[in-house]
Structures are given as structure tokens and as C-alpha cells.
Amino acid sequence: MQMEGTLWPPKKRHPEPSQNRGRTGIAFPCYLLLIYSFNFTRADFTEEKSDSPGAVQSSHMSSGHPASFQGPQPLPLTQHQMALPPGPQIPPPPSNFSGLCAQSSLPSMARQDGIPGSGLPNPNLQQLPGQTTGPGCHPQQVNYGPQMAGSQLSYPGAFPGGPAQLSGPPQKKLDPDSIPSPIQVIENDKASRGGQIYATNTRGQVPPLVTTDCLIQDQGHASPRYIRCTTYCFPSSSDMAKQARIPLAAVIQPFAIVPQNECGIIFRVDPYETPLYVVNHGETGPIRCNRCKAYMCPFMQFIEGGRRYQCGFCNCINEVPPFFFQHLDHIGRRVDHYERPELSLGSYEYVATLDYCRDNKPPNPPAYIFMIDVSYRNIHSGLVKLICNELKTLLDKLPREEQEESSAVRVGFVTYNKVLHFFNVKSNLAQPQMMVVSDVGEVFVPLLDGFLVNFQESRSVVNNLLDQIPEMFADTNESETIFAPVIQAGMEALKAAECAGKLFIFHSSLPTAEAPGKLRNRDDKKLLNTDKEKTLFQPQVNTYESLARDCVANACCVNLFLFPNQYVDVASVGLVTMYTGGTLYKYNNFQPSSDSPQFLTDLRRDIEKKTGFDAIMRVRTSTGFRATDFFGAIYMNNTTDVEMAAVDCDKAVTVEFKHDDKLNEDSGALIQCAVLYTSVSGQRRLRIHNIGLNCSTQLADVYKTCETDALINFFAKSAFKAILSQPLKAVREILVSQTAHMLACYRKNCASPSAVSQLILPDAMKVLPVYMNCLLKSCVLTGRPEIPTDERAYHRQLVMSMGVADTQLFFYPQLLPIHNLDLKSDAVPAAVRCSEERLSEGGAFILANGLSMFLWLGVSTPPELIQGLFNVPSFAHISTEATLLPDLTNPYSKKIKSIMEHIQNQKPYTMKLMIVKQREQPEMLFRQFLVEDKSIHGGASYVDFLCCVHREICQLLN
């Protein structure tokens, strides 16, 4: 099923490499020369590549037009090349290791600092000799110069010495500065496009990177905040697509937050977040193409003086409804073009008519149900009290429509252990009433009236309840819990109330009580790296899948807050969350004293989150291609309708496209994503996002407009989906082989001829190898016994619904030096590459990946910084227990806190701050995030992986 994607057909795997690599034991007799970053193109390219930060040019953006393709040009001076020197080999990896291509006989390559290309006469053709020696030796020697022997590549990370090696003296390796730097790419894009206005007026233009802040103006195509594509120019034929093997996909985040003052070209400037324009055609409802049912959008071509229009998607000619008629101007555009969002904007909303509602009835406003596990542990840890106290203030912040004064969202409360307790909090009651449902085998809702209430009206009863809940169960000794019946109960409650809604479940243990969905501890490390490993990611019992189906059918979104002390089987309990567009939060070994800020911020944010309920998404495309596969926190009953019980601003759906036919270069590839949903006030709406892509018969055009961040998002999601059905090893191999294929295809078809030993990377994919390596190293794809299964399942689930910005940060964390800050400037310091080399004893760094945040302190961190941050005199006095920096008024503290705030800003998960001192035990954890280095779990270093990919490419080219 999911194997049908471009990525995964096993037949496409390349059998030869492993054979070659495997047994021969023979080193590559060639010199490896790595060259990246080529460019096609135009004179200005040189300037772009001049690497001078000031040279801000965005001209290469326009190079997407086929006509402008001029073929590869000699690289400018700044291009980097690397020689992989010969060197002794590291010993064979541990025999139990079964990485992607880690045959034990595989010789490894010595690392060596690469050579900056600047000194070389012809950088992109520079060849360096490489040589291998027999296995068993550590790299001992570094040779500089053009003639260097390169040892054979060992991928991934077959490091011999274990963790100790990491803290030892750094190994000699290729100069990391000489290989493509994600930081460089990010900074370059920031420099060239940051802070500017990006107008979406051109089809197929490549937007700035997700890491670049700029102002986006909707001029007919959806903002990249809503849709990002893996490539902005589709190959015109499926043969071409097969050849390139570049996934054609769009990452759609339909409810992405659009910052204030970023609005379309027309009319309104809102002070805060910018809502989309809402089109209301009254009872007629949205105007749609008769044949393909696409919604009126800028891609519709008005003809015959405006009486008809041709659908851009299916080319059907439709009558313009009389009320919608308007004359055309001299260029054939409707006179009211700029007055109608649906004619001039990429994104807008329609008010839906009753035809779009369940049972043709207007929907009720959604409801939030809070379901608290009151078993012994949660009571004992104080969690229940914490939640109850917080809810008292939080309930005032329920989401509401901008123009409304109070929230229409109703709330309900359930507590549970082995049985369920519902609460009647009707406003006219003096005391809340508790109703126990102990028939957990067949859960039902014991009350209708009084369960879901308006908080404003029932405030005193609700507060009374929240005060009493912790006391009520204070002397409980019930330690068993149920889980599936809890979701069932919430779902039934929403069903009975005929509304959509979210469940907020606060759960802490493996549900072992006798009830549907009962789970046992099945975490079995023996399964790792076997064909059965996939079962660990699958739900243990079928209950959860059918429950998920019911939840989606009843528009019940499940948000799960987990507080596990041990295995809770995230793969099972998180399944419903995953399918219903909910969010999973996990707080291991939750301690209220240190972890409550993180949890409470998450909770607060989740409750306030902008959400669409009871959503169905449909992606329509112009003729010649269609959406074939969907990845995300979604549920699909058929092949086209993406169902989401709820979709919030952080959820992204990655859609893969396939060719049906040849694409027309003139008409391009058009995509319309329509999301039918119920707003927070209970209004049924349609949110439309349109985007147009180019098509080309030239592969180079395709490569030129690729977006690596989106690619990685796609690869991550498709790989994480694939592990449910394929062995990890196969998945990893496919990832590597596809990377190699894409690059090899480029090499073959787009690059100017060069020696086979050269590694040539398209400019837009410069950082694909490093990101791909990060993906391969992610704990989900690494079966190591020391990584808890729950953690892997958790990460897998999170990534499945992430948008491009989130995956970018997640796979390549941000590492910010904070020891040499300019305290006067507001700017966030430039990030450095995630490698140990970038750390220094005298420095302090913040590392963040969207889930965790570390403050790493070198042993010789300046005392004034320590004083400023911690208010303690010296390094030794710093306590690593704290999860927050103390509130101090000095400039250091303020600045660093503001940086942290900036990092945290708009991220879906609150990052818990961990303070890590150099050379102390917790540093191990921190080091896992230095993704360019070898990981302690066996992931390859960036350099090693690059070599591996290069070798694969070479084999493909041969």
C-alpha cells in the first residue's frame, strides 16, 4: 500500500552496492573528489555564490524558467571541494550492528580535513586521489594536499570506541567547512531574502527557506506557510519523473499561523494574526466547476466576455452564475478581479451552505472535554491538582472567533481510573454531580444536559468541581487504568451532543485494567533489527484502530498528554490521537516541580490553538497528475478524502503526486486544496489554498526548483510510514538509494561531464545529504536497545504531522553560541553547525530541536556570563536541576531569555530546558543532537555519509 510511493518500491533498490561494498573488502581505487553546488546558469550566479553575505540577490529564483537554463557553469571560487585522503581504516563495526550498509568487512575511510577550494585552479574539477588500506586501523595521519589517499567509507558511523571516543580528542577528518553547510545555506537565504516581501504572483517560483523570515504577500498563489512543494517545477512526463526520482509532493499546512500584517493585496490590515478573507455567496454556496468540482479560484479563465469560465483543472467550460457575472477588461481579466478574494488570492475561505454540513444541519459549536486520569500515581504526584488548578484559569482562554466576545466552545469533565466519572456541572446546580460509569466494556454517556456547559455560565460549579477533584480522590489506591473506553466515552459524549470537539486526555500508565483496549507490556528489545521490529510501531490490539475510525466519523479529536514513568505503548495509545489530528505530548518521569512549566505551556497553547473541526480535505489537481498518497495526522476512508477530526495550525499533510499523463508546460501543474471544516464558533467553512507549479521537459529545471526542506519532510514521513510494514533496514536502504538516485540522475543529465569520482550536488539539494543523514540517524530509524521504544513511537508520531519548518528544526537542530553576544542588538546570533567541533570550552550554546532545548556550558564559560545567567559565582555552582533560568535583570539574562523565547516562539511543543555542563554525564544526551557528528547510537557522521552517498552515486553512474 504505502509501498507504492516513489520512494519505496523494493525493486528499485540497487543490489550491487551492498554486494560490492560487502565482501570485496577492496577499497575504492579512485580519488574522491567531492564537489558540490553547481550551478547552472546566469551571470548573476557567480555573485550569489560569491559567498559575501552582503551580496543579496534573489535572481536565481527566476532561473526556474526553462529558457534560462544554460547548463552547468564552472564554479566560482567559493565552491568547495574536498579530497578524501587515504588513511588507515577503522576497525570493523560491532558484529551486531546492522546499519544500512555496515557490513563488517567494509573498510572505512579516514577522515581528513578537506581543503578549501579557494586555492585551487579549477575547483569543480579538482580531483584528489584517494586510497584505501586494509581494515583494522584508526586514522592516524592526516595528509594535506592535493594528493591524498581517502579511506573507504564506512557508513553509518561504525565507530569502534563507543561514547568515550566522543569526549576524547577529536578525530582527524575532512574539513567540515569544506562540505556543504546547512548553516551557510540558511544564512545565505536569510541574507538574500530575509525581511523582504515575497509576493506569490508567479507560478512555480521557489519561496524563501522556512528558516528565513520574510513578509509574504498573497498575489494569487497560496503562501508557502500553507503549501510548500518538494519542487516547484514538475517534470512534464512520468518517465522523466521516474528518471529523476524526485518525489513530487506538497506539504500542506492548511491552518498555518500567518503573522500579523501579512495579508493579501487587498483591503484589510488586521492588527494581529491575519485571518483569511471569507467569501460568502449566501445560499448558492461556493462556485464550483461542474465537472471536477474545483472551487472558483484565480486559475479559472473567464471567456466569452465573462459569461463563461474555463476550469483550470479539468478545462471544462462552465456558465458564470448570473449573480457572479462581471465584465472583462482589456486583458481578459474580470473588472472585479481585485475585489474578489476568490479571483485574486491564493488562499481564502468560503462560507459553506447546509449542503456541506452533516445531515444538512448547521453544526453546533465544538466542545472540549477534559479527561483526567485520577489513578494513584497521578494523585500522588500532584499532577491532578496541577491540571485542575490550571484549568480554572485556562478555561477563560478558550478559542473564539475574532469578532466574538466569548468563546462558543463548551467544556465537559471526566475523570477516570478503572471506571469513568462524568460530571454534571450544569449552571443551576449548587454542587457538581458525579456519575460513575463502570461498564467500561460498553461505555456510554450517562448524561447529556449538564455535561457540556458554557464555562462562563457554569463557572462557579466548574471551579467547585476543579477544587474538589483532587480531594475526592485523595485517598485512592486504584492504580489500574483504562484507556480506550475513555476515548470512547468522550467520543460518545460529542456524538450525543451532536458537535465536533477535542478531548484532552491526561494519562500516565499502561492501561492494564480489564476493558477494551487493555494493553500488556510488549516492549521487546529482541525484536530490534528484525523483521518484527515493525510490530512495535503498530498498535497492540485492533480496538484502537476501530476507535480511531469512530472518532473521525464523529469529529472527535483526541489530544493526549502522557506522563509515563515506564513503557506505556505509545504506538497503541497514541494511535487515535494520530488518526484524529490530535497532538501527543509526552513528559517522561513528570515531576510537577520541574516539568510543570513545560506541560502547562503546552496545555495552554493547545487549548488556545487555532483549530478547524470536523475537517475534510480534498486536493484537486490539473489534468495530467493527481494526488496519490497522503501523510499526516489524518484518516482516509477512500483514496481522495482526507478526513481530520480536527486540524490545528501546526498540523501539516504531505501529499504525494503522480503523473497520469504528460503535463503541459504552458498550463503548468495546478493544485487546489480545499478544506471543509467547522470553525470554533460552529460555522461551516471551506478553506481554499491554490498553488500553481511549472512543468518542464528539462530535468535541470526540476532540480533547480527543488526544496530540500520539503523533500526531507516528505522523506521523513514516507519512511516513518513505511516502517509499519517494512523492516527498518530496508527503509534505510531505500532512503540512501533514493538519495543517490536523485543525485546520480542530476549528475548524469544536468551536470557538465566530470570525473566519476566527483561528487556533484545540485545547488538546491546541497544540503540534502546532511539532512538525509540526520533523518537516518533519528531514533525512529535507529533500532538500538538503549533507545526506549516509546520514544521512537512518539517521535514517529510527531513527525508524521509536522510541517516543513518543524521537520527542518527537528532533524537539524539549531545550535546558537551565546557566549559572544552583542547585547545591544536584538538579533538572534547566527547558528553554528551541529558538530562538536563548533563547541568550545570557553563557550556557551543553546541547542534546540523543537522538542528539547539545551543550554550547554563549556568548562571555561566566562564567569560574568555564568553570573549573569545563574546568579552564581562559578561553573561549579551551577545547578543542572533547573529547567528554567532564574529571572534576573541583567542584560545577559534578558538577552538569552529573549533568544530562548524567540526560539520557542510558534513552535508546537514547549521545549524543556536542560542545562548541560561540559564533561558531565548529561552531556551524552546533548551530544545526540550534534547531528553532523557520529552518534552514540551508531549514526554516521556527515562526512561519512557523504562518502557513502558518493559511492552509491558512482556505482549508479557506472
Partner: protein, 748 residues
């Protein structure tokens, strides 16, 4: 000794026993020829501390021989000092009934579990809530009380918690086993491994159950508030639908709750329902209003979809309840039927009450319910629990069965007959709930063979041993022993005849008829009754063959045919014009009331008030309906005051308000006072009907009186008196004529 009548009366007062025959035919064959079976109506809990006289005592040996098995027994040590002059009460002949108080076993307080329907309209619910709140003050202070409410769901309210009120909720559509219910209510304790040498104790049992059953004095405030806050079932009921009412599950949970917590202690489950069960096990009718609830017509046509299943559900529950020694009361107040037909066994098998009314907001319900908690003369509640009635007979007699609010305990023995009459095959029955008027019909069989007659002067004896839990929670044993003379039916038929108790016989036969009517077709039962009557008349009538006019019955049989006539017309055997629920209700009361009440039910009493003389009982006949009379009819279920035509006109003219017609005012008042007296004492409180000539409610009277004048024979009887009844029913006269004809017929 004076007349048999006095003897009978004396016996009844002393022992609560009335036999159909007070001199017993001495052989099986003769007994069979008597037509009316040898049987008695036993009211076990008549209040008199007497003792049995039937033991032969050897004072010297300090031994006594049992009259039933001839075993010689030692007196217990407490009786060591007895002699001929110092007899214990048991041995005095006038103490044929005696009550022992047993001081053993833990005394558990009485339990009252209210099971309350919330699918009522606001007014009804309010009234019911008030009645329930009021009842808290009437309960014994240490009684345990519990509350279950139901509608679409069933809620078991926890009464012990402070602060938030807490209830356990059950789906109304799912039948649960007792074990499941107890698990879900958290009543089942984890299995404790049985430790050797240590007796199993269950000290915490009351603690656990006390979550749902609490002493009244502890939680009456709480419960009053809880009842006060009780809301109507909140689930919306759409147009054209009945509310979803989970009576079946509610009862099941109530039964399961008590079963798990207080088996074999006195407990009442009091069900208050305002409509038929519409979902789940025990549903009687669907929730579509367009399909009406089953009628007799549907039942005859086998069109009552849910009846069998529902009946089975309630029967299972009733049997379980009975096994636990608890009883179920049903208070059904609704204008339409509420499913009493299906639920009747709950009350019938457990000795519970059944009350049917139009609304909870009527004095009928309110006062009836209040009367449940009335105290007797001795200041004790007039209710007893968990009774075990054992009947012992002397050798010539066997027990054929019993009819009443009881279940068989299936105790076989030598004194148990093979032929069953009523609930037979046992010598012991369980009566889970009883009050001083609860009366069982017990049928015997004479087993003595014709050729082995009983010696002259020998007596047959029967002993009734009723062990029960008194309302004071004491265990008590009441023993009634009776003995009657044997007589040879051939030589001493006149003795037997004279000792015939026709009232008791009518009721005993009627109970048999009603018992049959539960399982047989109505006409079959009537035919059976008729045949019995004809045979009795043939046996005891004096007549010349084939000469109806010569037919005479002796005084002791004279009223019997008339009772049968009215019985045939009674709602106990006739279902015409009654709903199945009403029939069930009437029959329920008929098989548990004492003789006097039963006779009223068979043949209502009619009093006449007029200026012609003091109030007098008059014939239950249409000829008694005269214009210048006020009639007061008591049918047990109804009290009807009927103003004759002239009286009604006088009243309209307002004569009663004129000082000079004060006597008229008194005349109007007299039946009211008498009615009030009946209303005050009767349980359940009768429907009170005040009507007049031509009033629509006059039908209550007109349907009961013997239609001696109908539109068919009106002119033949002359104009001057009575009121014609528009009916095709035969009158008593016609009935008697036929009876005579058949009795004297040589063909029969």
C-alpha cells in the same frame, strides 16, 4: 359451643385460619365428592400470642408426643418445672397460636431501596419527590435506605459521600448479571484466600454496601436534598415518542445490589414508575407512540411482541429476589398501562405491594404510600419479611398447594401431595414480604382410604409454622395448630354440611379460578367454575330429579351460588373492559387479601342511605338503585357514592344549605363519613368516586350490580323501582334458574 358460624369466627380471630370444611370427610373419595376442596385461608400474622393445644403430654415422663409424627420428644430444659398444674402456654388449649421470639443471629436493619422513574412530567415528579422525602421521616430510624433512579440510564446513588453527589450509571439497554453489577458498583471484594482454621469473616461487608445503603438517621438530610435536586430524565424525547424508560435494568440492578450486599435480610425494593418500560430487557412497548401498548386483544391474537420476553425477565428477577428474601413493591402511576402485566410477578412472588394509580400527584398514591409505613396497635410497622411458612399435617392429610404471594421452597416430604392445587409439590413456601392481612390459600388432600375410616371422634390436625423477620428485625416464629373432627360423609353428611364455611369456600374456589386464569383461557376457567358449582349443588342441594322448582340449598350453602355469580362477573375472571395491567392489579390483590376483603372484591358491598331509616346494606342489585337513596358501594378498589335521581336534584337545588333541611345535609354527609372510614383504613387506598344518577362515573356502580333490570326485561319487572342496566349479561335470577335446571338434571 354455639353455631358453626361463631366457631368459625372465633377460629379466625384466634388463629387467622378459615377452613372451607370444618368437619372433614374422612376418606379421599368422600373428600373428592365434596367438590370444594378441603382448604383454608391462612393469615399468618394475625396478632395474638397463643399456643398450640394439640400435644399430648406425659407429665411424669416429661415427654410429649407429637401429633404429627407421633415422635416422643423431651421438653427443653427451660420447661423442667412443668406439671399438670404448671403448664407452659403452649399446652393450654386456648392458645392454638403462639409466637416465639428467636434471639439468634445478627439483626440487620430493614432496608428500603427506592427505585424511582424520572421519566415523569414535572408535576408528577415533584409529587413523587415530596412523597419520598416525607417517607424518610416514617421509616424506622435505623433502617437502611438506598436510591436508584432511572430513565434512559439507570443511576445508583451513592449516599455516603460528602460534597459532590455521586452516582453509578448504567446503560438502560444492557442486562447485567448480578456479578457484573456488583463488580461495577465496586461491591465485590477481591477473593480472599481461605485460611485454614480461621472462620471466614465478612466484617467489612456493611461498610462496603453502605455506600449505597445508609441508615436513614445519618443521611436523611442528604437524601432529602438529593431527592429535591432530582431532575426529570434529561434526554430529549422527540415528538411521537415515549421516553426511554429502563425499568427492567433498574430493577435488575436493584435486585443485584441487594443480592450482593444483604442477602436473606428484610428488604423492600420500592419501584415507582410512571410508564411502561420502553427499552432494554423487560421492555414492554417500543418508544413509538403510534404503536400502543398491548391490550387483551393483542395478547389473544398473539400480537404482544415483547410480552413473553419481558415477563421472563421479570420472572427471573422475581425469583432471584425471592431467593434472597427481598420483596419488590410496584407503585405504578400513569394514565396508560405501565406494564404491570409483565411485572406483576415481581410483586406476586415476593409478597410485595402493587399499587396502581393515575398519577403520583393524587391522594390515592400519596396516602397509600404513606400507609405503607403505618404502625400497628403495638407501635410496630405492619410489615414482616422473609417469612418461611411450613405446613405440617397429621397423617391423614397431605398438602396440595398454596395460592398467595409466595414461592415454593420445594421441600418435598411425606405430607406433600402428588396432586397440585396452586403452588404445590412442597410443604414450605417463602413469603418475602407480608403484613397482618396477607392471606394464603392452602389446599389439602385427604389421603385416608375409603375402607380404612378414621375412628369416631378422631381429629385431624394441621400446623402452620411461620418463621419471619419482624419489623423490629427480630426473628420470630409463629405456630398455629388447628384440629378438626373427622366425619363419615355417608352417615354424617349433615355435620359436614353444617360445618361448611361458604365464605371461605368461595374465596378458596375463587383463588383457584384466578390461579387458573393466569394460564388458561378465560372461558375455560368460567366453565370449570360453573361445573364445580353445579356439582356442588347436585351434591348438597335437596331436590327432586328434573324438577328445578324443588331445588333447595341449606343455609350454609345459600350464599355460595351468589358469590360464584359475582365472581364470574368480576374483573378477576373477566378481562373485558379492563386492560391487562388492570387485570393483573386486581388479581394481585385478590390473591393476597384476607377473607373479608376478598369477599368484598367478589361481591361488593352496597349500603343505602335514605330518609326511610338508618343506613342499611342492600342487595347488590339494580333494584337497589332508587331515586331517593344514596348508595355507597365498596368494591375494595373503589368506593362509590351514588346519589339517586331525586337526591341529586335536591342537592342541586341546594336544600342541604338551608337550615330547615339540615336532615338532608346529614343524609348527604353520612355516606361521606362512612366512605372516609373505609378510605382511612384500606390499603391500598381505593379510588374514591362521588357520582350521581346519570353521571358518567355511575358506571362504576352500574357495572357491579346484578342486572336484574335491563333494557331487555325492564317492562316485565314493572316501573316502580330500580334502574335498568344496559347490558346483555345475565342477571342473578337467570343464572340461578339455569343452575337449578342443571343441578336437578338427571343427564348431568
Amino acid at each position: 359451643m354455639a353455631t358453626y358460624l361463631e366457631f368459625i369466627q372465633q377460629n379466625e380471630e384466634r388463629d387467622g385460619v378459615r377452613f372451607s370444611w370444618n368437619v372433614w370427610p374422612c376418606s379421599r373419595l368422600e373428600a373428592a365428592r365434596m367438590v370444594v376442596p378441603l382448604g383454608c385461608l391462612l393469615t399468618p400474622l394475625r396478632e395474638r400470642p397463643d399456643l398450640p393445644p394439640a400435644h399430648q403430654v406425659d407429665y411424669r415422663a416429661k415427654l410429649w408426643a407429637c401429633n404429627f409424627c407421633f415422635q416422643r420428644n423431651q421438653f427443653p430444659p427451660a420447661y423442667a418445672g412443668i406439671s399438670e398444674v404448671n403448664q407452659p402456654a403452649e399446652l393450654m388449649p386456648q392458645f392454638s397460636t403462639i409466637e416465639y421470639i428467636v434471639q439468634r443471629g445478627p439483626q440487620t436493619p430493614l432496608i428500603f431501596l427506592y427505585v424511582v422513574d424520572t421519566c415523569l412530567d414535572e408535576e408528577d415528579l415533584q409529587a413523587l419527590k415530596e412523597s419520598l422525602q416525607m417517607s424518610l421521616s416514617l421509616l424506622p430510624v435505623d433502617a437502611l435506605v438506598g436510591l436508584i433512579t432511572f430513565g434512559r440510564m439507570v443511576q445508583v446513588h451513592e449516599l455516603s459521600c460528602e460534597g459532590i453527589s455521586k452516582s453509578y450509571v448504567f446503560r438502560g439497554t444492557k442486562d447485567l448479571t448480578a456479578k457484573q453489577i456488583q463488580d461495577m458498583l465496586g461491591l465485590s471484594r477481591p477473593a480472599v484466600p481461605i485460611q485454614q482454621g480461621r472462620p471466614l469473616q465478612a466484617p467489612e461487608q456493611p461498610v462496603i454496601s453502605s455506600r449505597f445503603l445508609q441508615p436513614v438517621h445519618k443521611i436523611d438530610m442528604n437524601l432529602t436534598d438529593l431527592l429535591g435536586e432530582l431532575q426529570r430524565d434529561p434526554w430529549p424525547v422527540t415528538q411521537g415518542k415515549r421516553p426511554l424508560r429502563s425499568t427492567g435494568v433498574a430493577l435488575s440492578i436493584a435486585v443485584g445490589l441487594l443480592e450482593g450486599t444483604f442477602p436473606n435480610t428484610g428488604a423492600r425494593i420500592m419501584l415507582f414508575t410512571g410508564g411502561p418500560p420502553t427499552q432494554g430487557p423487560g421492555m414492554v412497548v417500543g418508544d413509538e407512540l403510534k404503536t400502543p401498548i398491548r391490550s387483551w386483544h393483542d395478547i389473544e391474537k398473539d400480537n404482544a411482541r415483547f410480552m413473553k420476553k419481558a415477563t421472563k425477565h421479570y420472572e427471573t428477577l422475581a425469583n432471584r429476589t425471592a431467593a434472597n428474601g427481598h420483596c419488590i413493591d410496584i407503585y405504578a402511576c400513569a394514565l396508560d398501562q405501565t406494564g404491570l402485566l409483565e411485572m406483576k410477578c415481581c410483586a406476586n412472588l415476593t409478597g410485595g405491594q402493587m399499587v396502581m394509580g393515575d398519577s403520583f400527584n393524587t391522594s390515592l398514591f400519596k396516602q397509600t404510600f404513606q400507609r405503607v409505613f403505618n404502625k400497628g396497635l403495638s407501635g410496630e410497622f405492619r410489615m414482616a419479611f422473609g417469612a418461611n411458612l411450613e405446613v405440617k399435617t397429621s397423617r391423614e392429610l397431605k398438602i396440595a398447594g398454596a395460592i398467595g404471594p409466595c414461592v415454593s421452597l420445594n421441600v418435598k416430604g411425606p405430607c406433600v401431595s402428588e396432586n397440585e392445587l396452586g403452588i404445590g409439590g412442597t410443604s414450605q413456601w417463602k413469603i418475602c414480604g407480608l403484613d397482618p392481612s396477607t392471606t394464603l390459600a392452602i389446599y389439602f388432600e385427604v389421603v385416608n382410604q375409603h375402607n380404612a375410616p378414621i375412628p369416631q371422634g378422631g381429629r385431624g390436625a394441621a400446623q402452620f409454622v411461620t418463621q419471619y423477620q419482624h419489623s423490629s428485625t427480630q426473628k420470630r416464629i409463629r405456630v398455629t395448630t388447628i384440629a378438626r373432627n373427622w366425619a363419615d360423609a355417608q352417615s354424617q353428611l349433615q355435620h359436614i354440611e353444617a360445618a361448611f364455611d361458604q365464605e371461605a369456600a368461595a374465596v378458596l374456589m375463587a383463588r383457584l379460578g384466578v390461579f387458573r386464569a393466569e394460564s388458561e383461557e378465560g372461558p375455560d376457567v368460567l366453565r370449570w367454575l360453573d361445573r364445580q358449582l353445579i356439582r356442588l349443588c347436585q351434591k348438597f342441594g335437596q331436590y327432586n330429579k328434573d324438577d328445578p322448582n324443588s331445588f333447595r340449598l341449606s343455609e350454609s350453602f345459600s350464599l355460595y351460588p351468589q358469590f360464584m355469580f359475582h365472581l364470574r362477573r368480576s374483573p378477576f375472571l373477566q378481562v373485558f373492559n379492563n386492560s391487562p395491567d388492570e387485570s393483573s392489579y386486581y388479581r394481585h390483590h385478590f390473591v393476597r387479601q384476607d377473607l373479608t376483603q376478598s369477599l368484598i372484591m367478589i361481591q361488593p358491598i352496597l349500603y343505602a342511605y335514605s330518609f326511610h331509616g338508618p343506613p342499611e346494606p342492600v342487595l347488590l342489585d339494580s333494584s337497589s338503585i332508587l331515586p331517593d337513596r344514596i348508595l355507597l358501594m365498596d368494591t375494595f378498589f373503589q368506593i362509590v357514592i351514588y346519589l339517586g335521581e331525586t337526591i341529586a336534584q335536591w342537592q342541586k337545588a341546594g336544600y342541604q344549605d338551608m337550615p330547615e333541611y339540615e336532615n338532608f345535609k346529614h343524609l348527604l354527609q353520612a355516606p361521606l363519613d362512612d366512605a372516609q372510614e373505609i378510605l382511612q383504613t384500606r390499603f391500598p387506598m381505593p379510588r374514591y368516586v362521588h357520582t350521581e344518577h346519570g353521571g358518567s362515573q355511575a358506571r362504576f356502580l352500574l357495572s357491579k350490580v346484578n342486572p336484574s333490570q335491563t333494557h331487555n326485561n325492564l317492562y316485565a319487572w314493572g316501573q316502580e323501582s330500580g334502574a335498568p342496566i344496559l347490558t346483555d349479561d345475565v342477571s342473578l335470577q337467570v343464572f340461578m334458574d339455569h343452575l337449578k335446571k342443571l343441578a336437578v338434571s338427571s343427564a348431568a
